[in-house]
C-alpha cells in the first residue's frame, strides 16, 4: 500500500522550491521542540556562578557536573522516588492489562448474552462521571487509601477507552474455529483465555501496555490529591515539589538556614540543580522514546477499528 503511494508520487511530488520551503518549515518546528529540552540540559551542566552571571543559556560559558554531584550527594530521595514510580507503573500496567483483557474477551463474543449491557456499563463512565470531589470522598472516607500506593494505582487501573480498543481488537482477530475446537476438547473459558486469547492479543497488549506505562509514569495529579506523606513521593511529584521549593533536596544542615541565606551563597547550586532534577526525571522517557514511538502510533490506529 505504502509502496504504491510512494511510486505514484514519482511524477507528482512537490516542486523543488515548495519542497525546500516545507523542509525549512518542518525543521523550524522540530527545532522548537528540541530547543527547550536542549536549554534545560545545558543549564543542568552550567556552574551556578555562571548562571547567576549570564542567566539560563543554551551555550554555557563553562561546564560542570556540580548540579548532578549535589543531586546525588544524598541519592536516597531520588532513588526512592524512582522505586515508587517503577513499582506503580509496572504493577498498574500488568494488572490493568490483565483486568481489561479479562473484561474485553467476553464483550468480544457474539454468543455472550449480556454483552450490550456490560459494554454500556464501561461506555457510560466515559461520558459521565461524578467528578473529583465524590471520588475523593470514596477514596479517603470509604476505602481509606490516602497515603498508600493503592491511591496511585487504582484510579488509572481501568480505562474505558483502552478497554474498548481491546474489545475491538479481539472481536476482529480471534479465530472462532480455534476457540470452538478448544471448547469441544473440554477447555473452560479461563483456559481458553490464557492459552489462546492472550497470546493472540500481543499486538494490542503491547500498544495498550505502552499507553498504561506512560500514564502511570507521568502521573503527578494523584499524588497531588492523595499523598501528604513524605515517604510516598514518586518521581513526578518529587519534581513538582522541587519546582516549588528547591530546599526539598537540601540536607538537614542547610534546611536550618533561611532560604535567603542559602540564596546568598552563590556557589551553592540551586538553579542548575532544578534543571538537573528535570533531566533526571525526563531521562528514561526520552531515551526509550525512539523505541516505543512505533507501538504508540500503531496503538492509535488500533483504536480506529470499529467493533
Amino acid at each position: 500500500m505504502t509502496k504504491a503511494i510512494r511510486s505514484s508520487r514519482g511524477g507528482n511530488a512537490l516542486s523543488p522550491a515548495v519542497n525546500a520551503a516545507a523542509t525549512v518549515l518542518l525543521a523550524l518546528g522540530s527545532l522548537l521542540c528540541l530547543f527547550p529540552l536542549a536549554l534545560v540540559l545545558a543549564v543542568s551542566f552550567t556552574p551556578e556562578r555562571v548562571i547567576a552571571l549570564n542567566g539560563y543559556s543554551i551555550l554555557p560559558a563553562a561546564l560542570s557536573l556540580e548540579a548532578y554531584a549535589f543531586l546525588f550527594a544524598e541519592p536516597l530521595r531520588i532513588v526512592r522516588a524512582y522505586g515508587i514510580t517503577i513499582f506503580t507503573t509496572v504493577t498498574g500496567t500488568a494488572v490493568g492489562l490483565l483486568f481489561i483483557s479479562l473484561y474485553a474477551y467476553p464483550l468480544s463474543r457474539r454468543d455472550f448474552r449480556y454483552r450490550r449491557f456490560f459494554t454500556f456499563l464501561v461506555f457510560f463512565t466515559m461520558l459521565f462521571n461524578g467528578g473529583l470531589v465524590p471520588r475523593y470522598l470514596v477514596y479517603t472516607q470509604l476505602l481509606h487509601v490516602k497515603n498508600t500506593l493503592l491511591a496511585l494505582i487504582l484510579p488509572l487501573l481501568v480505562n474505558g477507552y483502552f478497554l474498548l480498543i481491546m474489545r475491538s481488537f479481539l472481536s476482529t482477530t480471534l479465530p472462532e474455529e480455534a476457540l470452538e475446537s478448544a471448547r469441544i476438547d473440554g477447555a473452560g473459558e479461563f483456559r481458553i483465555f490464557f492459552s489462546i486469547v492472550l497470546p493472540l492479543a500481543k499486538p494490542a497488549l503491547a500498544s495498550i501496555g505502552l499507553f498504561y506505562t506512560l500514564r502511570y509514569w507521568n502521573d503527578w495529579f494523584l499524588s497531588l490529591i492523595y499523598i501528604t506523606n513524605d515517604r510516598i513521593v514518586n518521581l513526578q511529584y518529587l519534581m513538582y515539589r522541587v519546582q516549588l521549593h528547591i530546599e526539598e533536596l537540601q540536607n538537614a544542615s542547610m534546611q536550618n538556614m533561611s532560604l535567603q541565606a542559602i540564596r546568598e551563597m552563590a556557589d551553592i547550586p540551586s538553579e542548575n540543580v532544578r534543571m538537573a532534577m528535570a533531566i533526571v526525571g525526563i531521562g528514561p522517557v526520552i531515551l526509550a522514546y525512539p523505541f516505543f514511538r512505533r507501538y504508540f502510533v500503531q496503538g492509535l490506529t488500533l483504536g480506529s477499528i470499529k467493533g
Binding site: 504504491a4 518542518l26 463512565t125
Partner: protein, 319 residues
C-alpha cells in the same frame, strides 16, 4: 465417525461445570469492582453537592445524615464572580485550542505527508511528537527556564535589545492566554496530526493521478482532492472536541503557570477551581457543586455533539 456435540456440551464446558455466561461474568468481576469503586459509587456521591457538609466530622456520616440544602450550594457558587470567570476561561481557551489544533495538525500532517524525503519527514514527525510524552511537571520546568524573571532565556534575550524592559512573566496576566496557547500547540500538535496523517495515507493515489491528467497542479490537488476528503474527519473530530469543551487540561492550567495567584484571572478554569476549592479551602460542598455543574453541562454537550456527528456520518459517532 461424525461427532455432534450436544447443546449441553457446548454450553457447559471446562472442569468447573459453570455455564459459559457464568464464566464470562466471573472474568468480568475485577473490572466491575474497579468500575463500581472508581465511577459508580462516586456518582452517588454527587448528593454532596446538595447538602451542607462540614469538613472533618466523618464524611460518610455526613453524607448519610447531612442537611439537605437543595440548590443552595449552586446558588452560592453562581453568585461568586468566579463562576462566570472560570466558565468563560474554560470555554474560550478550549475554543481557541480547537481552532489552533485543527489548523496546525492538518497543516503539519500535510507537510509531513508530502515531503519528498521519507526519512527526513519521519524524523521530523518523531521530534515534533516528542513533547506529548513529557508530563506537565516537566513542561513547567521548561517554561520556567524561559520565563524566569532574572535568569530566564526570554528576559535575557530582551536585555540584548536596548530599551526593552524585562517582564515579570509570572505576575502579568496579559501574556498568559498566548503563552498557554503556545504551550498547548507545542505539546499536542504532533499527537493530533497522527490521525490526519493516517487519513492522508489512505487516500487512493488514483485520485491524484486522475487530477494530474486533468492538469491540476499540486496546489489544486490539495484544494480539490485532499481537503474535501479530509473535511469529514475534521468535522467529526472538531465536534467531539466541542463535546469536551467544559473539561480543561488541569496540568496546563495548574502546573505551567506555577499556581501563581496574580495569574488566576486568566488561568483559573473549572478543573483548577474544583481542585483549589477542595484542597486549599476544604470547601467540599462548593467544590462538589462546581463539579456537578461541569459534569452535567459536559454530559449534555457530549450528547449534543454526538447527535450532530450521527446526523453527519453515523460511522463516526460514539454511540
Amino acid at each position: 465417525m461424525f461427532h455432534d456435540p450436544s447443546a449441553r456440551q457446548l454450553k457447559r464446558s471446562g472442569k468447573s461445570g459453570l455455564s459459559r455466561d457464568r464464566q464470562y461474568l466471573l472474568m468480568m468481576l475485577p473490572v466491575l469492582i474497579v468500575l463500581i469503586l472508581n465511577d459508580y459509587l462516586p456518582m452517588f456521591g454527587i448528593v454532596v453537592a446538595f447538602q451542607d457538609i462540614r469538613y472533618g466530622n466523618g464524611l460518610i456520616q455526613g453524607i448519610l445524615h447531612g442537611k439537605w440544602v437543595g440548590l443552595k450550594n449552586f446558588e452560592f457558587f453562581t453568585a461568586t464572580p468566579d463562576a462566570f470567570l472560570i466558565t468563560r476561561n474554560t470555554v474560550l481557551y478550549n475554543g481557541a485550542f480547537i481552532v489552533l489544533d485543527l489548523v496546525f495538525s492538518v497543516g503539519l500532517a500535510y507537510l509531513i505527508h508530502e515531503l519528498g524525503n521519507r526519512r527526513l519527514s519521519n524524523m521530523f514527525h518523531t521530534i515534533i511528537l516528542m513533547p506529548h510524552f513529557l508530563s506537565f511537571v516537566v513542561v513547567s520546568y521548561i517554561v520556567y527556564a524561559f520565563l524566569h524573571v532574572e535568569l530566564g532565556f526570554v528576559n535575557r534575550l530582551l536585555q540584548s535589545f536596548p530599551g526593552a524592559d524585562p517582564v515579570r512573566w509570572y505576575q502579568e496576566p496579559a501574556y498568559w492566554p498566548f503563552i498557554l496557547s503556545l504551550v498547548h500547540v507545542w505539546k499536542y500538535v504532533g499527537y493530533n496530526s497522527i490521525v490526519y496523517l493516517a487519513a492522508l495515507k489512505s487516500i487512493d493515489p488514483q485520485l491524484y493521478e486522475a487530477a494530474t491528467i486533468d492538469g491540476a497542479g499540486k496546489w489544486k490537488q490539495a484544494r480539490h482532492v485532499t481537503l474535501p476528503l479530509l473535511v469529514p474527519l475534521m468535522i467529526v473530530l472538531t465536534l467531539l472536541e466541542v463535546g469536551k469543551i467544559f473539561y480543561s487540561d488541569f496540568g496546563l492550567f495548574y502546573q505551567v503557570p506555577l499556581d501563581s495567584g496574580p495569574l488566576f484571572p486568566v488561568t483559573n478554569v473549572l478543573d483548577t477551581y474544583v481542585y483549589r476549592s477542595l484542597v486549599n479551602m476544604g470547601d467540599i460542598s462548593m467544590a462538589a457543586a462546581a463539579g456537578v455543574y461541569q459534569a452535567f453541562v459536559g454530559f449534555v454537550l457530549v450528547l449534543g455533539a454526538n447527535w450532530l456527528v450521527r446526523r453527519y456520518d453515523k460511522s463516526y459517532s460514539l454511540f
